[in-house]
């Protein structure tokens, strides 16, 4: 049967470029940087919330990509491999964020036990079209809310809902089972939903 040795090579829009760099054209590395610099910078901002940390993350990631590109075996999309490196840089740093101490989010936190708190209708904000809802203040509040998520939940929601990776891709990047990704994603979303409820309650 199939073994890792004979695993099919996955081709994507970066394959040619990566092959060319590995075939002896390191000067093309700059092109690879151009393609992903902004994405990684935003990933860093979303994970760390700090421009210096985001810059560090981008630099470290590209340094490691440069170092290990020759070992890339095209067993996954290049982008997924890149994010795996970025994610492990992020985790290694284990920045003790003042916002987000590591802790488990339990489903119980999100289940209202008090009947008085149970909504009897859909709140008005949830019925508004997105373009009427989104503004700078909400965007800032939401980004801050993401930073208050414990890291393991933040990683999942950032990769899934902000960076647009699928459940399977996220599981590969984080070396988790898909079922674990789903559980963490659901709790992270419920956590953010609570923050939005608070925001709109205070907003009137």
């Amino acid at each position: 049967m199939t073994t890792n040795r004979y695993r099919k090579k996955i081709r994507d829009t970066d394959t040619e470029l990566v092959e060319a760099i590995n075939a002896g054209k390191p000067e093309l590395f700059e092109e690879l940087v151009k393609r992903y610099e902004q994405k990684l910078y935003n990933f860093g901002l979303r994970m760390c919330g700090d421009v210096c940390d985001a810059e560090d993350l981008v630099q470290e990631t590209f340094l490691n990509v440069f170092r290990y590109l020759k070992d890339f075996r095209f067993e996954t999309k290049f982008k997924n491999w890149l994010y795996r490196i970025a994610t492990s840089s992020c985790i290694k740093k284990r920045r003790k964020s003042k916002y987000a101490p590591e802790r488990e989010l339990s489903l119980d936190e999100f289940i209202s036990k008090d009947d008085a708190q149970t909504p009897n209708e859909i709140p008005a904000w949830a019925q508004l079209p997105l373009d009427q809802l989104l503004n700078e203040e909400l965007s800032r509040t939401f980004k801050e809310a993401i930073l208050t998520l414990p890291e393991k939940y933040r990683l999942v929601v950032v990769l899934r809902d902000l960076e647009g990776f699928s459940t399977i891709e996220t599981a590969q990047i984080l070396n988790l089972k898909s079922s674990n990704v789903k559980v963490r994603l659901h709790r992270a979303r419920l956590f953010l939903q609570e923050k939005l409820k608070e925001y709109f309650k205070n907003d009137g």
């Binding site: 760099i21 590995n22 075939a23 002896g24 390191p26 000067e27 590395f29 700059e30 940087v33 610099e37 902004q38 910078y41 935003n42 901002l45 979303r46 421009v51 810059e55 981008v58 630099q59 590209f62 340094l63 440069f66 590109l69 020759k70 489903l107 289940i111 209202s112 009947d115 149970t118 909504p119 009897n120 209708e121 859909i122 709140p123 904000w125 949830a126 019925q127 997105l130 809802l133 989104l134 909400l138 965007s139 939401f142 980004k143 929601v157 809902d161 902000l162 647009g164 459940t167 789903k182 994603l185 659901h186 979303r189 419920l190 953010l192 939903q193 939005l196 409820k197």
Partner: protein, 91 residues
């Protein structure tokens, strides 16, 4: 608030699956079950609507441009990296 159809155990089961429903990751049968449930259960219906909106807000978050000085420092770092990417020895 709580009526006959509002069975807490069933609610909890459905509540756990709301994200998978939003992501289209449920099998047809469970998907139907959830849709039937939210028709009758206002709590789950409301939770689904707010959760959906939360996900949509997430997906619409703006991206920041990379500051020019950050880009320049990155470029300088790359230019100073040793040009020693070993060529892959094809098997």
């Amino acid at each position: 608030m709580t009526d006959d159809i509002h069975n807490p155990q069933h609610c909890l089961e459905m509540f756990k699956k709301l994200s998978e429903y939003i992501d289209g990751e449920l099998d047809t049968l469970t998907c139907k079950e959830l849709e039937e449930h939210v028709k009758e259960c206002v709590t789950c219906k409301s939770c689904l609507a707010t959760l959906k909106k939360t996900v949509n807000i997430c997906r619409e978050m703006d991206t920041n441009p990379v500051p020019a000085e950050v880009s320049q420092r990155l470029k300088a770092m790359i230019q100073n990296m040793p040009r020693q990417v070993r060529t892959v020895q094809e098997r």
